[in-house]
């Protein structure tokens, strides 16, 4: 038979078409063939080609989905089904006899010994002992599968309460840090600023939004909600004051002149950045003033991250490397690594997100009614922002966000406004 196979193999090889002008089947035809979506004449034509074209046969073999995704194969021929049913019937009967005999023996043994069985396994495993062997295996598999399926979601949700606790701790730490940092430093500073820095308690606490108290524990605490028109003192590049409670030193809010070029646009000859209430008209980004400078800064957009791929960045293409998306249902989702599945990320209740942008570890998410959240730790914790420019708060839907460098973002709203920040959302400029 081996010789015969060799003869047939060679005969088949002779029948393969190797003409270079041969037109191969297109992807639609091959896909429809695999999915049984071709009419009979079409299927015949495809089969005719596949019988003579090794390239297309290879493509078919490679493009078949994984086994568990394949549609159920046609039922076996009736004869083999009947044979298998007979075998199964006898096997089931034998198994039942064994189980009954074993149970009776066990019962009698326990009665003789007069001991109390202690349950050392969990309920699921104990229950499985009462089942037939075949069923118990299935139960264990189902239990394990269930446990595995819940892991990604559980992992995401489990992170947030921990992070919230940390945020609470950071609040406490930042308050203490504010007091410690009130001590004179070696950096250039004025006596006025030193005096103010030593009295952080004098600065009134930031207003808490009505919705903040109702927010779930997963969201940043009310104490960390930043209102952008509150005075915030900045000394030597470190935020102090009650407003700074929303920006703990370790969370990326620390501003150092050498690392934060946009902030150096403030005219402070001694390199001390002050944004007190009285200096606000000069400090806050207003239209035509600092906004113009902010806009120029944002105009120098960084190229989109290419990641580790060799392919050049596609102009204006939605990045394949991004890890944050917003679904059509307004849900924010994240992928832990490029190429992996997206999982929902809960930021706050009742928020319908419409746009998200990422820049390294920094994430901006905006939605209906001007809802805006900012994270500097890749979404592990979030800060609710309430942009306002003077007396004009942001209330329209945020429809797109463009994040460039760290701390900088450009929002577009449903009423055609552009909101720009260069300092992580502390100050905003509004363009119509």
């Amino acid at each position: 038979m081996m010789q015969l196979e060799k003869i047939f193999r060679e005969g088949l090889a002779r029948q393969q078409s190797v003409a270079p002008e041969m037109v191969h089947l297109d992807a639609d035809q091959l896909t429809a063939f695999l999915e049984q979506a071709l009419s009979q004449p079409e299927r015949q034509h495809v089969m005719q080609h596949l019988s003579r074209c090794v390239n297309c046969r290879d493509a078919v073999a490679l493009s078949m989905p994984e086994l568990d995704l394949m549609p159920a194969a046609v039922a076996e021929p009736q004869a083999s089904i009947w044979r298998r049913w007979l075998v199964f019937r006898w096997a089931a009967a034998a198994a039942a006899v064994v189980v009954v005999a074993g149970t009776v023996t066990l019962y009698q043994t326990n009665q003789r010994r007069n001991t109390v069985a202690t349950i050392v396994d969990g309920p699921a495993y104990t229950a499985s002992r009462q089942l037939k062997p075949a069923e118990s295996a299935q139960t264990e598999v189902a239990t394990k599968t269930e446990a595995n399926e819940t892991k990604p979601a559980d992992r995401v949700k489990a992170e947030q309460p921990v992070m919230t606790a940390e945020l609470h701790d950071r609040d406490t730490v930042s308050a203490n840090a504010a007091k410690e940092k009130a001590a004179p430093s070696k950096a250039d500073e004025t006596p006025t600023l030193m005096a103010k820095a030593q009295q952080p308690a004098a600065v009134p606490p930031p207003p808490v939004s009505a919705g903040a108290a109702a927010m779930s524990p997963n969201v940043s605490s009310p104490a960390t909600v930043a209102t952008l028109d509150r005075p915030v003192e900045v000394r030597g590049g470190v935020l102090t004051g009650a407003g700074a409670s929303g920006f703990p030193p370790g969370s990326g809010r620390t501003l150092r002149p050498s690392e934060e070029p946009p902030l150096q646009s403030y005219d402070q000859p001694d390199r001390v950045f002050t944004t007190t209430a009285e200096a606000r008209p000069q400090r806050s980004l207003s239209i035509g003033g600092r906004a113009a400078e902010a806009a120029k800064t944002l105009a120098k957009r960084e190229p989109m991250a290419v990641g580790m791929f060799a392919a050049p960045p596609l102009p204006n293409a939605p990045s394949l490397n991004r890890r944050w998306i917003v679904t059509s249902a307004g849900e924010l989702q994240r992928s832990h690594a490029i190429g992996e599945a997206f999982h929902p990320v809960h930021v706050a209740d009742g928020i319908f997100f419409k746009a998200v942008a990422e820049s390294g570890m920094e994430v901006w998410a905006g939605g209906v009614g001007g809802a805006l959240y900012h994270s500097t730790d890749d979404g592990n914790s979030w800060m609710k922002l309430m942009p306002s420019a003077g007396d004009h708060p942001l209330f329209a839907d945020i429809t797109s966000i463009h994040a460039t460098q760290r701390g900088a973002a450009d929002l577009t709203t449903s009423n055609g406004e552009h909101w720009i920040t260069v300092d992580g959302g502390q100050h905003w400029a509004r363009h119509e």
């Binding site: 038979m1 010789q3 015969l4 003869i7 047939f8 193999r9 060679e10 005969g11 088949l12 090889a13 002779r14 029948q15 393969q16 078409s17 190797v18 003409a19 037109v23 297109d26 992807a27 639609d28 091959l30 896909t31 429809a32 063939f33 695999l34 999915e35 979506a37 079409e42 015949q44 080609h49 019988s51 003579r52 046969r57 290879d58 493509a59 078919v60 073999a61 490679l62 493009s63 078949m64 989905p65 994984e66 194969a73 046609v74 076996e76 021929p77 083999s80 580790m308 791929f309 392919a311 596609l314 394949l320 991004r322 998306i325 059509s328 992928s335 490029i338 190429g339 992996e340 997206f342």
Partner: protein
Amino acid sequence: MTGSAQTRGLRKWSSEVTPDVRRLYAASPAKNYGISEAQFSRILDEVTNKYLPEGAGVEDAREMICALRIDELVLARACAAGNDAAWEQFLTRFREKMYGAAYSIAKQDSVARELADSLYANLYGMTEREGERLSKLASYMGRGSLEGWLRTVLAQEYVNRYRTQKRLVSLEEEEEAGHQFTAATPAPPQNGDARVSSAVDEVLSNLGDEERYCLAAYFLDDRTLADIARSLNVHESTISRKIEKITKGLRSAVLSTLVKHGMDRRAAQEALETDVRDLAVDVRARLAEARKPAPGKPRA
């Protein structure tokens, strides 16, 4: 588009299929992606032009368009047109699957990523013609699922690359491996062996396409019975019995053919049991010869 191709499209039966087209359009997300009803109709026309056979009637056309994956078709075409919302949907639904398919095809991380990136570039459209971006997604016709289509495109690209690389063989490596560059192969001698080859060719030509496909996949491509069964959506045991039956039938058929051509039965049996190396059938030469175009050449 040629005149004969136009007669196969929906325009030929526009008044009869318009209600179906409208119904499909209303049920699809085409409007959300900025595709008008006229554009939608043109897309369906393109599909029917390409795949409807000659002489097809309006019922065939109706059946074809109703069997299309309309939602995925409009998504793909909207992406090809550069619709942002469509791209958001596409990336959400298919990015992970694209990478997964590339991994399962290439089995190597670096090759898989390169394959997926290359496909993404083609899908997005790196080239332009007459100011219009050429996206591969514009060639998706909705006959099968978009996920399956992406997988098939990846597989075809992988096959093309792999076969291209196989053809480009280093001469130094070949010499080091001991391969010698032979001269042109002489024609095989006319003896009983040629009659066996001829008989085998005749019998194989009379096989059905599906039978030939099974044999080719099993004997030439070394596919498993399970893989062949999956491609045909039948059970593995069905393929096993089929191949066994075909090979038995082939032996009888070849014997009969040899006897019919004047060979003694005993000699024919001995010829089938002779070592293949004595047959002087040069497979390389046969494969290198230009073959006749595949029957049933698909329409462009």
